[in-house]
Every structure is written in C-alpha cells, then in structure tokens.
Amino acid sequence: MTDEERIDEIIRNAASDYNRPPATPKDEMWTAIQSAQKSAGPRLHITAGGASRSASEAHGTAARFSQKFMWIGMAAAAAFLLATGVGIGRWTNTSGPETAQQDTVRHIVEAPANTPVAPPNEVGPSSAPEVEPSSSEKAPPRDVQPASRTRSREDIRRNPEIVRKGGTLPRYVGIPQTTNNGFATAPVNTTYQVATQRHLADAEALLTSFSLGTRDERMDAQFAVWAKGLLSNTRLLLDSPAGDDPRRAKLLQDLELVLAQIVQLSPNAAAQDRELIQGSIQSENVMTRLRTAIPAGQPREITER
C-alpha cells in the first residue's frame, strides 16, 4: 500500500463521521409526504432564493401561486404553444413545387435515425460526389457535426442523392432519434422538442447578454423582465413531457435557478450579487450545456420563417 493509499484510507475512515446522519425519522417524513399528496396541486418546488421549507408548506405555497396566477400561466402557455404550432406549420408547408424537394423530404423521413451527418465542407454541391456511402457509414458518431438547417435543406434540394446515399440527415426534421448532444428526443412530442430548443436558445441569449451587458439599473430591470418570462416557460417545460429526459430536466432546473436569481436581482444590486449569479452559471457549466443542447441554428430558423 502506497503512502497516498494509506492517507486516503485514513481520510475515508475519518470522513465516516462527516455529517453523520441520525436515525431516519421515517414515520414523521411519511406523514408529511402523505399530507402533501392529499393537498391539491401536484407542483412542488423549493422556492428559488428562499430557505427550504417543509414539503406541505412548499406545496401550499405552490397551490396558492398556481391559483393566483393560473390564468396568466394558461394564457402564456396557450400563446407559446400557438406560436410554436404556427412556426411548425409554416415550416412544414414550405416545401416548394419541385418534386425533387418532396422526394428529398420523403427520403429524409425514411433515412435511418443513426445516419451520420456529413461535415459542413462535405455537404456542398461541389463536394457532393465525394460523399461515399461507405465512408459515411464508417464515420463514428463522435465525428457527427451539427448540420446547419439552411445549408442542409438547400443542399439536399439541389442534390437529393446525398440523402439517398445516407450522406446527411438534418435533425430539424423532428423524427424520433437521439441527437448528438445527448438528449433523448424519441419520446418527446415534436412540439415540445421545438419549444424546448427555442426556449434554450432564448435563455442562452439572455445569459450571454447578462454576462456581457453593462451594469446599470435600467439594464438590470430589463434583464429581470426578460428573465421573468423565461422563468415561467422553464417551469412549464419542466412539468411538461419535455422535462421527462433527466439531462434536459437537470439543465432546465439549473436554468430555473439562474433565472430566478436574475429576476430577484434588485436595481441596486451589489456587484457581489451579480458575481454570485455568474458563479452559478459557471459552476454548473450552464452556458456550455445550453449551447450543447441547441442544434446549430435550428430554433430561430424554424420559428422565424
């Protein structure tokens, strides 16, 4: 046994006394769980920025909140879903009169879910002949590059053979598959998928602006208003099927915390408060995870058409 191993063992033994838990208060906790379950309204969260509270108290607050702001939330959710639906509708109806493009879309849907996406420099019309089925099939998943929506659609329209040969599969199609950012998309409704990605793109824009923006009261107020809307949507998404994927849910929960902090940032907030928020963003790698979760150029292009 080396010295380090011996020291590790001593530390491990001593650490068994660190926060040594007492006997589990099973019955008391079970009573609290039952009372919380009997109360109306299933939404349960530890409130952002506040100290922890008992489950029943937190539940009561959540219920009161949802009663008070239920109509606002429902209206916001309806507007959000309507906008998303219109975006999807407009996007799906954009296929032109060319039969080649219709053919392409059919082939996109028929393509296998794990078909690798060709790197950007291989997708262009000039390089299309270089895309060989064998080389595409041999490409390992880690080499898969996110395909730009505009580039892929245009290139596929010009050269449907790329798709027939398994050369590219844009993820924006919305068919069940697993994205290369690690988020499982199969069980999630396309609407939620698009809505989540658009939401994450908006959140990224806010956090980037917050990190780079100048510090004055007016800006802080604008950030708070912006973050408030995003916070509502984050919570809606957490309770929707979009929150079923553990990784996405974790990202949304971390995002919820950061947004709640920004919402609560007072106009006269000290630099320390902003640093705390920046610390939350950095410690959880929120920006990196957001950018990983957003396919290249996807959400905005879909909804802005």
Binding site: D3, A15, P22, T24, P25, T47, A51, S52, S54
Partner: protein
C-alpha cells in the same frame, strides 16, 4: 415492512416490477413499502450532503413525492434505487444551491479559507479539519467523494445519479481525494510514520 430483494437477483427485479405496478395503480400499501425500502439510503445521502436534519428531511420528502408523481414514467432502464437517487441528488443539490444563495444574501461572505491554504495554527482536531476540507470542496468533487467513499455508492450508480459517465465519477473522486490530501498535508508526517 418487507424489504426489497437485492436488485441484481432476478427475483428482486420481479418483486420490484410488481411493487412499481402496484404503486402506479395507486396502492397506498405499495407506496409505503417502496418508501420503507429506500428511505434510509435516500435520507442518509441527503443528510451527508446537507448536514442538517431539517434540510435532509425536506429533500427526502420531496424526493418521494416527486417519485410517486412520476413513477408512471419509470422505464426500468435502471434500478428503482438508482432512479430514486437520481431524483434525490438532483433535489438535494438544487436545494442546497438555493439555500446557499439565500444565506449568502442574508449575511456577508466571510473570508473563506480555501483548500491548500489552511494553516495549522491551533492544532485542530483531524475531524474538524477534515470537515472544513470537505466543505471547501467544490460541489462536483464533494458529491462524488461523499457518495463513493462515505456512502459506498459505486461509480456506475454515481454516474447514473449525476448524469455523468462512470469514468468521470472516478476522475472526480481521484481529484477530490488529492485536494483533501493537500488540505490535510500537515498530518501526513504523523500518518506515514
């Protein structure tokens, strides 16, 4: 209450599936049985992470409330215990962040002693120093260290609960231990001799 069998035994899996099916059907006795089978480990981990009984109770309760709400979504891709710990760790870490933020707003941050700069002025007890050192670890190292070295979770279980690969869990444990050794370097002479 009857405890569940070990999950890796075929019989255990069957009984776990049956139990979950009963919980999904809304059987209160099944809920209680599931709770009794797992509450100790969930509470222990919550307490290790939080260090306070009240917080540990809150986290544990929320874990089971959320688990009962979402048990219908459980896909048997992992053991029920792993699924519960995924929920529990997520709730505990998020809750601790919120509590920490609230507390730092209430009181000014005191000059924090960082790992590696602790001087051995008052010859404090090892446990006190170790507690300081563990508290000073960043969340990712502290969580993995407590789960593995203190509570005995495997790297696979930790990876599933934290949403990271098992290899990352090993790396974090290695780095966390190194930071602790560094923080307690002035005990090294006594330990080796």
């Amino acid at each position: 209450m009857m405890a569940l069998k070990v999950p890796d035994a075929r019989r255990g899996w069957v009984s776990e599936r049956q139990l979950i099916a009963r919980v999904v059907d809304g059987d209160p006795a099944a809920q209680r049985e599931l709770y009794e089978s797992h509450v100790d480990r969930v509470y222990r981990l919550a307490y290790r992470l939080a260090g306070e009984d009240e917080l540990a109770r809150d986290f544990t309760q929320l874990t089971f409330i959320r688990a009962f709400e979402r048990i219908g979504d459980f896909r048997f891709e992992s053991s029920l215990a792993t699924w519960l710990h995924t929920i529990g760790v997520s709730i505990a870490l998020n809750g601790l962040r919120k509590v920490k933020t609230a507390r730092t707003r209430e009181a000014p941050i005191e000059a924090a002693s960082s790992i590696g700069t602790i001087t051995r002025e008052a010859e404090p007890d090892l446990k006190v120093r170790l507690k300081e050192a563990i508290d000073s670890l960043s969340e990712k190292y502290r969580t993995v260290f407590l789960m593995h070295d203190v509570e005995g979770f495997t790297h696979e279980e930790i990876g599933a609960a934290l949403g990271i690969p098992a290899g990352t869990s090993k790396t974090r444990l290695f780095q966390g231990r190194a930071k602790l050794r560094e923080a307690l370097a002035d005990f090294r002479g006594e330990w080796i001799s």
